[in-house]
């Protein structure tokens, strides 16, 4: 009787040994979702809610405001200058660090991280100190009628400084994992420097590079601290979108402030979408990741760029 009943007992589910009781599982999941809703989705919804509080008409009107439009234009111009420059700089930097051995390499790698380590406000102040009216080059610049601080060049310089590690940081681990053998193979086969770069190096890193550019663009458009110091907040002239949001908010123009903020939020969502697409592409084509460390390319984009630990890690590595 007993033996028969035991043999007909349903087998417990296979994952029983590794799973927690249902109550614990549900509780933990609920906490996680609640947390996400409270700190991520709610603010996101609030931005759009506030922006559209007085209807679509007011929203569009706020964006078509002369000063708002000028701020949008300035942000786009800044990004259009900064991103290509950082693309070239990041590529050159990663190429040098990953493919060559030279004296002072570890110092250089530490220096790349300087913009991350230092507060953006300080980066802005450095430029005021250098190019401001009372700064080192101030008198000379004034004599030649060149304005950098409280003008577009200052904003571009500050943004450039803050965003310059992004592309390089993304590419260095990827290029290090890939090594130099393929380039050597190309050169032995008769390829010149540019041919090697465009036919071998670039195709191997294109997804990593694109990812770095997306991050760089997002940061360039969203930068506040450094730009705030050098901008001078001249409406319609030196206000970027982030600065414009602050001014409108301080003037209790909530619809205006959140309308511009919603554009920045849309940019963030767009960035996330593009980022997922790139990650999906890198995973789909494992052939392009480093053969020495197959996970390198997939891992690179997934890891957010940490601030302090990066420089510590590189110091230990070199």
């Amino acid at each position: 009787m007993t033996s028969a009943s035991i043999s007909t007992l349903p087998r417990p589910p296979a994952q029983r040994a590794t799973a927690e009781p249902a109550l614990v599982r549900w509780l933990l999941t609920a906490v996680a979702i609640g947390f996400l809703a409270l700190f991520l989705f709610l603010p996101l919804a609030a931005v759009f809610g506030q922006a559209l509080e007085r209807g679509l008409g007011a929203y569009v009107a706020a964006l078509r405001d002369h000063d708002a439009w000028a701020a949008i234009r300035l942000t786009l111009i800044t990004a259009a200058i900064v991103v290509p420059l950082n693309l070239v700089f990041g590529l050159a930097m990663a190429w040098a660090v990953a493919k060559f051995e030279f004296r002072g390499k570890s110092v250089l790698i530490t220096l790349i991280d300087l913009p991350f380590a230092v507060s953006p406000v300080v980066s802005g102040l450095i430029y005021v100190l250098l190019f401001g009216l009372q700064g080192w080059f101030g008198p000379w610049l004034k004599a030649h009628d060149i304005q950098i601080i409280f003008a577009v060049p200052g904003i571009v310089l500050a943004t450039l400084f803050v965003t310059c590690p992004l592309v390089a940081r993304e590419l260095i681990p990827l290029m290090q994992a890939q090594g130099t053998e393929e380039e050597e193979a190309a050169v032995v086969l008769g390829a010149r420097g540019w041919q090697t770069f465009f036919r071998v190096t670039l195709p191997n890193i294109k997804w990593g590079l694109l990812y770095g550019v997306i991050l760089c663009n997002a940061r360039a458009m969203g930068e506040f601290g450094a730009v705030s110091v050098v901008s001078g907040h001249i409406r319609g002239l030196t206000n970027t979108m982030t600065l414009h949001v602050e001014i409108l908010y301080n003037e209790y123009n909530f619809v205006g402030a959140f309308a511009v903020a919603s554009l920045l939020t849309l940019l963030a969502l767009l960035t996330l979408g593009a980022k997922s697409l790139v990650e999906w592409q890198t995973r789909r084509r494992p052939a392009e990741s480093g053969s020495a460390a197959p996970d390198a390319a997939a891992m690179g984009p997934l890891t957010p760029v940490p601030l302090q630990p990066v420089s510590e890690k590189t110091r230990n590595e070199h």
Binding site: E181, A186, V187, V188, L189, R192, Q195, R199, A287, S291
Partner: protein, 355 residues
Amino acid sequence: MSIEARNVTKAFGAFTALRDVSLEVRTGELVALLGPSGSGKTTLLRIIAGLEVPDRGSILFHGEDATDRRVQDRRVGFVFQHYALFRHMSVFENVAFGLRVMPRRARPTRGEIRARVRRLLSLVQLDWLADRYPSQLSGGQRQRVALARALAVEPKVLLLDEPFGALDAKVRQELRRWLRRLHGEINVTGVLVTHDQEEALEVADRVVVMNAGRIEQVGTPEEVFHHPATEFVMNFLGHVNVFHGRVEGDKAFFGALELEYPNGASTGSLAVRGFVRPHDLEIDLQPGETTLVEGQIAHVNAAGPQVKVELATVMGETIHVEITQERYRALGLTCGQRAFVRPREIKVFLGGPPA
């Protein structure tokens, strides 16, 4: 095209990879650079290719100084240890690469490129894989693609860096024979780097044995195997048993065994070491005139064309002997049995026990 290295020296920081190395490779020859890791063989190969610059010395192609010639202009085919295939290109594009990057004047037309790549892929028996990517190939297939890619530019010199290192034993055997045949078919001077003595002896016309940045011996596989110039060569080319003895006049003594040593030292007694390969030793059940040492059978491995026997001497040394299956059956050896070892040939090098 002949290759010559003259007094080449190369250091990486404090490590000297090559010390004053000179070597000549004749046109159409296939030479193996053989040595343990760190012996400088790969560095020499890379210097010939132009991927490294020698600190001193020069490289000559066909009698002309090519030391300062750029890698791109040397027209050598190089097969990398890990193949270094372009991972984002198909097999076809990998092979076509060398042709596509040629200057416009010299570049073949699209049709010619297609035909030549097809021909090369059928030469390496991979025409059916033209559209695959390197990650979809097996190790042996990648190796052959790398070879086809190197041959596409019709190099006069083919350099191979541990070409079969990452492959399993069976594939390695096949590719070795295949490379030997291929080298006979296409007129190219070849240099092959390997740490596998069997591979070097089987594939190459001549073997260059290297150690610690120097060349120990250059010779045909037969010469280096049967007439090793140094202890290192003797040691590196297969198993050896070492016996300590001394030389007095024209006689050499190993224990009770006395041997003729015609080119011996004239005066005094010198410590020497005798090297005997396992297949140059014979086992007897009774002591004889030429018995070198006595021991106890410790282990017998009869799987293979030769029977491998291990003997333990009273001194606690292990002696490796290889005898034929017939001899093994005739002797009826069992573990623990006492036996006597007799050398057929003994190589004597001056010098005492290693420091």
